[in-house]
Symmetry: C2
Amino acid sequence: MSLPTHAETPVAIAIHGGAGTIERGRLSDEQEASIRSALTAAARAGHQVLAEGGSSLDAVTVAVRLLEDAPEFNAGRGAVLTFDGTVELDASIMDGASLAAGAVAGMTGVRHPIEAARRVMSESPHVMLVGSGADAFARAQGLEFKDPDWFITEFRLQQLRAVQARQQSATQLSEDWFSTVGAVALDAEGNLAAATSTGGMTNKRWGRVGDSPIIGAGTYADNRSCAVSATGHGEYFIRHAVAHEICARVRLTGVTLADAADAVVNQVLREAGGDGGVIAVDPAGNISMPFNTPGMYRASIDVDGHLRVAIYGDDD
Amino acid sequence: MSLPTHAETPVAIAIHGGAGTIERGRLSDEQEASIRSALTAAARAGHQVLAEGGSSLDAVTVAVRLLEDAPEFNAGRGAVLTFDGTVELDASIMDGASLAAGAVAGMTGVRHPIEAARRVMSESPHVMLVGSGADAFARAQGLEFKDPDWFITEFRLQQLRAVQARQQSATQLSEDWFSTVGAVALDAEGNLAAATSTGGMTNKRWGRVGDSPIIGAGTYADNRSCAVSATGHGEYFIRHAVAHEICARVRLTGVTLADAADAVVNQVLREAGGDGGVIAVDPAGNISMPFNTPGMYRASIDVDGHLRVAIYGDDD
């Protein structure tokens, strides 16, 4: 299908809702429909910003806000629960034009962590705020907060109980689904932006922070190369500085975005044992969405206005 | 002067204690002597580990522990104070052989934050722990804790009072000294390691985290390229993923470590307005210590066993 585009200058957006061992038949038709519908709505909302001449920063913010509100995804409302049955929310955002960036980790009550990250970028001299300090900053900024119960869905409670019953080890990692949401966009001015938001890992403990709020690991944007948002087993994505590595390969070696993203996800991460994927867009509007897991929730609207929504590896 | 080296295989170590607008005459002779003495002790202790065939991970840990205990430097004891008059300690460490890494941020009472980072790397499946969760993990690991007063020196109290008196804005950034400690080393097995530790920024607020605990920004090590520990205005070092960028340039473009480190510090960061410097070592034992500030506390023992201790830009 085709959506109207605003200008002759290309605009493009891609979003994700997590990657993992999701195979056909595991989701009910109803679940699958609601996921595809939420992905479609987020991609369209972000694209509308771009089509009206808005900035890539606004587009990724709008898309991620919708994904944070959607209880299907592990970010904002519907985030996975910690060892203590609470939510701890992480997010980051980056402006490819200026390399300005904002990140928050371990937030407990803000409705839209991506807004908190954006305010850190635009309203503070800092890049990263963590824990209760990040909450206090977001409150001082007037951002919307919700009661703890608002975030917690019955599905995540059951998931936590199942994980806790299954394992003795409190630091167990063997999840088969690394859920995160994210967006990358190219606007009509030629500026790139990337944003990522997550509740982290079910049953996480000890203030564990994954790659999502780490600029260079889960999120990176640079007009000279590309914008990347990652989702996967965060520890591996940090060690390999995945988002920055993809941008560095494009910028320093001249490979295409598709080749750089594919090599990092399907060679470097696969060999290391790091499950997951990325979404990425370059200044020409080329979109790349490789993953090394059976599935990744994803959607995109390309420079020709074509909407694509996909879940499985053979979903194209 | 020359120190004994153990094997025919080269070993090397470099350490730093912060970078900034330190100029001749600003330090008393006594202060300068105590700083040079602390730098010398840390470099020698790390080098001894290497000379006896120990690992680069052990060498950087030993060196940084000593710098954390030294009240002259902004890490561990003698860390700068937050807006609330407390210490919040960040550290990270990385193993260039395996890319294993550990990081902690916002810790409040552990004597050696670098040990906490190392335990995250070796004793947890995670890379980064923050806030009270990191403290709880370190306690569970049996690490040594100290009372809040142990960390606080009269010098830092005066510094906080001066900064708070000088500024209305609580998020003021115009510090002229970005103090951090760090070490990089090459061991006889050919393995690289990097470690960084800091108290962050005087009068910091809202759980601000700089580049020191961010793998890829303040710390990176990869046997295929180099090991880097950074010190400087952390927000710029995060946006440019400085430590990973230097390693990526060496690995992807084949430039020398000296050229890569110099370009990132003296071109990229200087143009962006990011004050600071790095220490770095490559698999051949080449040491590079560029900085774009008037001074950087630094010391190194190279592959020939030559000790060098320096403070100012013309100190060579």
